[in-house]
Each structure stands twice: as C-alpha cells, then as structure tokens.
Amino acid sequence: MSTLSSVSIETGRRSYSGFGASVAALARREFRDALSSRWFILFTIAFAVLTIGVSFVSLSGVGSHGFSGFSKTSAGLLNLIMLIVPLMALIAGAGTIAGERERGTLVYLLSQPVSRTEVVLGKYVGLACALCCSLCLGFAVSAAVIAWRAGGVGVAAFSLLIATTCALALAMLAVGLLLSIISRRANVAVGLGLFVWLVAVFASDLGLMAGTVLFRLRVQDVFALAIVNPLQAFKMAVIVGMNASLDVLGPVGAYATQSFGSALPWMLWSVIVLWTVVPLSLGVVLFARKGSI
C-alpha cells in the first residue's frame, strides 16, 4: 500500500509530462512490485535451476562435439521453455489487474491523473521487463554451464533462442493481462491462465495430433492449424533460426520450408507478434469501457 502511495505521488507528479512518462512511471512501479513478489523470485530460481539441469543432462556423459544445427541441448531447453515460460507469463499477467481490483487498489490508482490505457500499458511494460530479466538470468546461468562443459550449441543459435523466448513470454503475458482485465477476481484470472496454459501446451497439440491421425489431414492443413498456436510458432521459429530449415519436423516441416522459404521466419514471428498485439489491444479497449473496475 505504501509502495502505491509513492507511485501515486510519482504518477501524479509526472502526468503533466505526457503519456510516455506516465507509462514509464507505472511500469517502474510494476517492475518493482514484481521483483519483490514471491512468484517472481520463485519462477526465476526454478527457471535457472531447470535450465542448468537440462544443460547438464544434455551435455553429460558423451562430451560435446561442437556441431552447429539443432542439438540435443537446444531440444531439451526448448521443451523446458515451452512448459515453463508460458506458465510464468500467463500467471504474471493474470494476477496483476484482477488482483488490484480485488484488493481495491485499482480504484485508488485510477483516481490518479492517469488514463486507463496508460495503466494497462504501464503494467504490461513493467511486467515484460521483469519477465525478460528473469529469463535472461536463467539463460545466463545456462550459458555459463554450457561454456564450462565446452559449447554444445553455437552462440548465435543460443542468442536467437533467448530472443525468441522473450518474444514468447511477451505474447503470453499479453494474453494473461487480457484474462486479468476480463476477470473480476484474481483467483478466476489465474484459473483462466492455467486453463489457457493447458490448452496451449498440451490440449491443442494433442488434439491436432488426434485430428491428423483420425482425419488424415493434409500437410498444409496440419501446418496452418499448428501455427495458430503461439507455442508451435515459437518452436518452429527457433528451429528455423538454428537450422535454416524445418526438415527436422518431418513432412509438414519440409512442406513449410519449400512453400514459404525465406518468408517462413517472418511468418512465424508475425504469429507471435499478433499474439502480443491483439490481446493487448483488446485488453486496452475492454479496460477503457466504463464499469470494468
């Protein structure tokens, strides 16, 4: 509460200097709140420990061979990221506005001279910075382990993995924030976040797999349906960035590589960007409507 009072001073003080300054002030406040919250510290530690574990297990026993391309380490990290990062981002986003609404602090915040759009964007930017910092810390530890065990993946490939992971986190955070805006209570928002996570990580893939088998879907249909899922788009973006081709993904990957060629990375990235921009805009619009407090 007292954190909020300092921010209300800050936002109040800076509101005259414009939209950007208000968003920045709100973002800083959100960032600080995130850093001092338990979920954030827990997730950062969990992510770091798991990436170390994966790097160790993938590199242990056999030594490394300095191959470029898609290595076992990257595959292991990819799996871990697809499991943990969406969960982290969805819950971070889901807790924020619904939580303040439930605690009653949202009314107080909105009584300050800041617009509702600024509140949504400020919260988004602050949480996004916090998430990216958390991920980078995890990756830094993982990079140290890989370096120590004599590089199994290339630096360029690893940097690409980090960038794409941050993009995925931003998209999932936007979805989480949207859930938070439409939910009246924090529990509901987090529950919805978990549900979306289950669907994105498991249900949609398993459903599409079942559909592929049952309906004998053509490769182009499988591909089109798969990339709607931001997690699949993320996975393909990482693989195409490391490998310049999706051939490791079998006939569907080969089809995508042949049909879209150099446009493929842009396509996949635009899916991730759309999953960021659309939920965020929708959130801004919905939050701006009266009576959403």
Partner: protein, 461 residues
Amino acid sequence: MPLFVLTMSARALGASTEEIARLIDAADAGATLVVPPGVYEGHLTIKKAVTLDGDGRVTIDGGGEGTVLTLLAPGITIRGLTIRGSGSGVEREPAGVRAETGPVIIEDVRVEDALFGIDLRESPGSVIRRNVVRGKHLEPGRRGDGIRLWWSHGCTVEENDVAGSRDMVFWYSEDLTIARNTVRDSRYGLHFMYSHNTHVSENVLSNNSVGVYLMYSNSITLERNRLLNNRGASGYGVGLKDCDDIVVTSNAILANRVGLYVDNSPSSADSTGVISRNYIAFNETGLLATPITHANAISENAFVENEEQAASHGRGDLSRNDFAVNGRGNFWSDYAGFDHDGDAIGEVAYEPRSLFFHLLASEPNLRLFIHSPAQQAIEFTARALPELQPTPILTDPSPLTALPTTGAPIGMSSKGSRAMGALGAALAGVSALVVLSLGRAPRLAPTGHPERATGGQEAAS
C-alpha cells in the same frame, strides 16, 4: 623412358589448345610434356601415351561447349592442370576430363564449371588422385557427376575434393580403392552401383543428400569414414540397398537425418552384414531398417543421443538381426538399465519402445510435434499405462554400459566455449543492471515531497 621436356616462355592469354596438340604430336610416346603456363582455349583430345604436366599454371578452357579434355590412349598421365567450361546439356554428358581407355593417371587437376568432372569409361587400372572438382552452378536435378567410373576395374580414387556436383559414382567397377576423398554439397557423396569388392576408407562426406549409398554392390568395406550432416530428402549417412557381405566399421556417422539406412541388405540367403564399432550420434534416426532386413551382426556401436536411436521403415521390427555378438551388444545413450557385476555390460536388455515414435511410423506428419511437451505427455502416458506401450523395435540382450572404443574419426571440438561464457556474463550483467537501476524506488525531483519518497523507498526494499 625417353623424356622430352619443353621449356618455353609463359604464354599470353588466349592461346589455343592446338598449341598443346602440336606439342603432343611432336613428342614420342612416353614423353613428359611440361606445358608452358597460360590459358588455352578450346578442346583437346590426347591419343598418345604422354604425361602432360601443367605444374598448376595451365588452364584449358572449353568455352562452355562439349567435353574439354579427352584421353584416348592407355598410359596417359595428366597433372597440374585446370580444366574448365564444359557444355551443360545433360544428353551428351559433357565432362571436364573424360578417359575412354585405361589405365590413365589424373593427378592434381582442378576441374571447374564442368557438368561431369572426371569421367572414366572402361578405363581399368586408372588412378584419380588429389583432384579438385567443382560442379556447374545448376539446380541439383540438372547437375552431372563429380567423378564417375564406368566399367573401370582396379582403379584408385584418393584424396579428391568434390563439391557442388551430383555424385561420386562407381558403375560396374570392381576391386577399387576409395580413400581420403572429400565430397560435400552434392547429392550422393559416394554412390556404388553393381560395383563389388571395394575398400572405402577415411573419406569425409558432409552436407550431401546421402553420404555413402551402396546399391546392388557386394563385398564392400566402409571403414573410418566421416559422415556428417547429410540431410537431403532421403538424407542417409550410409545407405545400403540389396548389398551382400558389407562391413561397416569404425565410421563416425553424425548429425544426419538418418545415420544408417539398411534396406534388404544382405539380400542373399547365405550372406551376412557386419555393422560394428561405429559412432552413430546426433542423427534424427540412428539406425533405420526395412522390416525385411535380416542377418546383420550389429555390435559394439555407440548410439549416442540420436533423436530416435533405431527405427523400422514400415510396419515391423528389427528383430531378425543380431544386436550382440559374443555377448557384447551396443552402447545406447538412453539405456536405463544397470551393470551389477561390473563387466560393463547391462544386466537388463535394451528394448526401446516409444509410443510417440511408434505413432510416427504410421503417421509421419506427426513429426511436427516432436520436441514439445505434448510428445513428453504421450511418452508419459505410455509409461503409466503399460497396455499402451508398443512392442520393442529391437532387443539388445547385452547392452554396453560404457562407451566402446570405436576408432571412428569423431573429431572433438570445444570451439565457442569462451564466446558462450562471454554471452552468459553479458546476460547476467545486463539483467542485474536493469534490476538494480529500475528496481529501486524512484528518486524524486527536488520539487517533490522528500519525506513521502523515503517512505516509498522503505516499502520497496
């Protein structure tokens, strides 16, 4: 042997190959002709047993038409020449160098921009050594072979470097020695058609569609070759199709789409195949065999971190092959058994049974979902519900628990570890900096209210 050495001053650009032809006409059979340095335009046909030595400073340019250099007499040696500019129409099969009788020796020759590089037709006993062949810049379907032997027994092909061609291919040629060649960015690195009794060793075949493809060829030994990153549409490191008495040993088979593909080899009733001491690692599929494949002795190989260690191409399993010889099986990096009596052989058989890969065998499109939590979920389900587990694709009764000494040219590298360390440090530094600078409570401007700002700082820290 009479020696006839010509010493002339360096030629200006644009000389004609007729000048070389005149030198050859003037020489006796068996003479060594040192061709004056320069670029010679046109085509050349040699019908006399001479040695043509360009000392690396002679270029013959065919101007993009026909076959550039044709060898029509046994006993010809060509050495130190650059041959370039053959025709490109595939119907006449124009080549950089073509021999139509043997033996000939082709050494230290560089062939560029030729549809076929070096083409031996019925030239037994020839030697092709230390040549460099670069194909024409054509789409893969229109390229010719880098080096081709046709009905040429007893030849030696060694230390050649071929890139950007179709195949290095051996048709109906027996008793060959193929060693220390490099083939990359081509279709098939080494391709054997009906060519028997050959020893293939220490070649490096990388980034081709297929590394070594043996078809209908018997009694071939593949030893200490390095097959790296061959990932074309079929994409095999080594492919064996209907071949008898093949020995594949001490090869490093790394990061191919399929490490080793075996289709009905051995095909005769009384022959066997030996696949031993290979280092098969980081491939999408380590060993892929058609269910009809049988009578292979597969032992003491290291199967390391292949996405799928072994698979059957089509419905069925690999159980008609022996995965252990004299009580020694293979090393499988995903083996989860244990070694009780300390003899480095696991007490529990290795039996891979992955439900996901079982599904893949009948529905290849599902490979899209590899490397995802959904794949893990399927494997977990199969472990939790044993009735869902497929039957194992193979049984290795005595898996090795320690990596065997294979003698394969694996080539370790620790490049990039320093860069990776730097990346880690940079990431940690940047995120720590961001956390420290943004994570503190804001410093208010002097016009603000200091006492309330202090309160905010306490709360944040």
